[in-house]
């Protein structure tokens, strides 16, 4: 992108204009996510920067909204913060309840999606796979079909099948939504996979299970893990299906956020949002490291 020495003035002007435009677009992408972080430390219940915040007066900042995450929904939030206070928090705090549900649903549906998705991806990436295109199209479609339609269908189906308002029902639905991501990432890893490796292993007497564990798995593991992370994020972020088929016992973090925004948007939501941003940064870094490792393994230069 460096300008050649012979560039004309017009080209130079355009070049810098272009960089400024790109900078603004990057700002548009990232600023909305970063702006909530300082706002979540606002001592006032407002969604904008107060004078004290701009002048970096420590009095303008506080952790009160983070505290509210713990105390909201407790039976006795004002009590002395001893062992029984923490037990009260653990049992009654609305956000912790949602977090527990999100974790249970997220982990279980990720396991489901990863195991089933990886198996299927192994089959789909074999050259002999019949009806490959049609099957692939069907398996990817949960990602494409609008969630409101999937959720509507699930609502009718689950009501009849007795799965509405149950954890297994939501776990299955989230697994279904996460599967396309697992398939896409694992087949992408397998696309660079040299099938002669597994044939070589077989011809040397390895059983199919051994071939899978010793040869295939190490190579596709980065793809499987990033697929699993995608599936987890899909579940952790999903709200429409939960809105339609869950009851209050299965309330998840996004659903609690949705209710919070619609009911009474308090800066507590910003505190939760900040925590979620930190989590996504952690996940993103993991994915990035995995991708580089996978490319190193497959001998592709980083890119």
């Amino acid at each position: 992108m460096a300008l050649p020495a012979h560039a004309s003035i017009g080209e130079r002007v355009w070049h810098y204009c272009y960089l400024v435009i790109c900078g603004l677009i990057f700002l548009f992408l990232i600023a909305p996510i970063l702006v909530i972080i300082p706002l979540s430390f606002n001592i006032e219940p407002y969604f904008t920067f107060t004078y004290k915040m701009i002048t970096f007066d420590p009095e303008g900042y506080s952790l009160r909204w983070y505290d509210k995450i713990l105390t909201f929904g407790m039976a006795a939030p004002e009590a002395l913060r001893d062992g029984s206070w923490w037990r009260d928090t653990w049992e009654n705090a609305t956000w912790l309840h949602a977090l527990k549900n999100s974790a249970i649903i997220g982990v279980a549906s990720t396991l489901f999606a990863t195991v089933l998705g990886t198996l299927a991806a192994l089959g789909l990436s074999r050259p002999e796979m019949p009806f490959r295109r049609a099957v692939m199209a069907l398996l990817i479609s949960p990602m494409i079909v609008p969630l409101i339609i999937t959720a509507t269908g699930l609502f009718f189906f689950y009501s009849g099948a007795g799965l509405a308002h149950t954890f297994p029902g939501i776990i299955m639905a989230h697994a279904m939504l996460g599967i396309p991501f697992v398939i896409i990432t694992v087949t992408a890893t397998l696309s660079g996979f040299d099938h002669s490796l597994s044939r070589a292993a077989s011809s040397l007497g390895a059983t199919p299970v051994t071939v899978f564990r010793q040869v295939i798995l190490p190579l596709i593991l980065p793809g499987v893990i990033s697929g699993a992370l995608f599936a987890f994020v899909t579940s952790f972020d999903e709200v429409v299906v939960v809105l339609f088929v869950a009851s209050y016992d299965q309330q998840t973090i996004p659903l609690q956020m949705w209710n919070g925004i619609r009911e009474q948007i308090s800066p507590t939501i910003l505190a939760v949002a900040t925590i979620l941003v930190v989590i996504s940064i952690a996940l993103l870094s993991t994915i990035e490291l995995l991708r580089r490792r996978s490319e190193r393994l497959r001998g592709i230069s980083p890119g």
Partner: protein, 424 residues
């Protein structure tokens, strides 16, 4: 003996495997086995997706054409309509069926549900059915027509009988008609609803147009960034890529919340504009609870879906093409337009289709920042699912939306191929 073997040239003996079977057959068998094995790996998932995804959607589609509320709870009248399809307002026999059904519906408390069903098409029928059922339960015997007409004159309304006749058919396209702002007039002819009640066609069109606009905006913003990322040295582009991927990985609700804090009239953007004197304190701009809010927030949320496919296509375009064009005398603009741009078209197509498909199904963001003019068709589906509880209409609206998405998805698969979808 197969034909192929007969025509084997005599000079070469037939190829066989070690155990003497013809090689061709053995290969075919091995191939079949391999195909079967490959398929077997996919089967568990295929069943899982069929059960948790395809079956529910099929059920929803069925519900959009099947509403048995009336025929289930008014069996005698339904039978009467089957026997007399041409009658407008019947005589005593029809009214007898009606009165007996009404009396029965009082007992199992279904009069309200039947009334609600008729109320979809003939407002005011709810109370008619409920009070009618209470009255009919006390009838000792005929003449039913006279007694019902004494209760309310409405019972002789030809429009009511028309609506009931249609409702008696459990399988109906009536909900699709309603989803397209059509209705049956008093004579039973299909016609458009009154102008002040038309909503769905307008919403489908708005959803379509806004999605197209959002896709265009994403392209406008995504193209320069993707170009920059594709042409910078790796160590810079990897860093900048994080700025694209972080929003992609951040919860949809977090991003929507951010936009609420930014766009509120007492929010960050308006405060900034007031502070810099761009607008007065009383001239704060309404950026949220309208179409502007939906467009801004959704463009931001979907932008990574445009940048990533564009980037992966641009990455494959060798920079030497542009240099060659320049050295052959093309101006920078010509070189870009004639040489570079055409090669990015697959990426543009992939990005635009993906963004468009995702946008037309959006629900959460428009519901939170769109107000009433920024609502999309999904919001009406949710409304009928959760508030008005006219589930058949919700299903019909959903089916129409689904049809559009499947069409685009098919197009995407044809043009780009779903295998080429990548993240990150």
């Amino acid at each position: 003996m197969t034909a192929a073997e007969i025509h084997q040239p005599e000079t070469g003996a037939m190829l066989t495997t070690a155990d003497g079977a013809p090689l061709k057959e053995a290969l075919a068998r091995a191939m079949r086995r391999a195909r079967f094995r490959a398929f077997l790996l996919v089967v568990p998932l295929l069943i899982f997706v069929l059960v948790t995804f395809a079956v529910p959607i099929a059920q929803m589609l069925y519900l959009s054409i099947h509403n048995p509320v009336f025929s289930d709870h008014m069996p005698r009248l339904t039978a009467y309509f089957e026997a007399h399809p041409d009658i407008d307002v019947p005589g005593e026999d029809g009214f007898a069926a009606l009165a007996l059904d009404l009396a029965a519906s009082k007992k199992d408390r279904s009069a309200g549900r039947v009334g609600t069903r008729i109320n979809y098409e003939r407002p005011g029928s709810n109370s008619l059915f409920k009070s009618g059922a209470r009255k009919a339960a006390k009838f000792k015997g005929p003449p039913y027509k006279e007694k019902l007409l004494k209760h309310r004159k409405d019972w002789a309304d030809p429009h009511l009988w028309n609506v009931m006749k249609r409702a008696a058919q459990a399988h109906t396209l009536g909900f699709y008609a309603a989803a397209l702002d059509l209705t049956y007039d008093k004579k039973g002819e299909i016609t458009r609803v009154a102008p002040e009640r038309r909503i769905y066609v307008m919403l489908f069109v708005r959803t379509f147009l806004l999605s197209a606009l959002i896709a265009a905006l994403c392209l406008l913003l995504g193209f320069p960034v993707a170009y920059l990322l594709a042409n910078l040295p790796l160590r810079y582009s990897n860093l900048l890529m994080i700025l694209v991927l972080l929003p992609f990985w951040t919860s949809l609700l977090v991003r929507t919340t951010s936009w609420i804090t930014l766009l509120q009239s007492q929010g960050v953007l308006n405060d900034l504009m007031v502070a810099t004197g761009m607008v007065g304190d009383d001239g704060r701009i309404q950026l949220m609870y309208n179409q502007a809010g939906t467009i801004i927030a959704m463009t931001h949320i979907l932008l990574p879906f445009m940048i990533l496919p564009l980037y992966s296509v641009m990455k494959t375009i060798p920079p030497s093409y542009m240099r060659a064009a320049r050295s052959l005398g093309a101006t920078p603009v010509t070189a870009f337009m004639k040489v570079y741009f055409p090669q990015t078209i697959p990426g543009i197509g992939a990005g635009c289709l993906l963004v468009f498909i995702l946008a037309i199904g959006y629900y959460i963001t428009p519901a939170l920042v769109g107000g009433s003019t920024g609502e999309l068709i999904s919001n009406q589906i949710a409304f009928h699912m959760q508030s008005s509880l006219n589930w058949s209409l919700a299903a019909a609206l959903g089916a129409i939306l689904l049809f559009g998405v499947v069409l685009l998805y098919w197009l995407y698969d044809r043009l780009i191929g779903i295998d080429n979808m990548k993240f990150g």
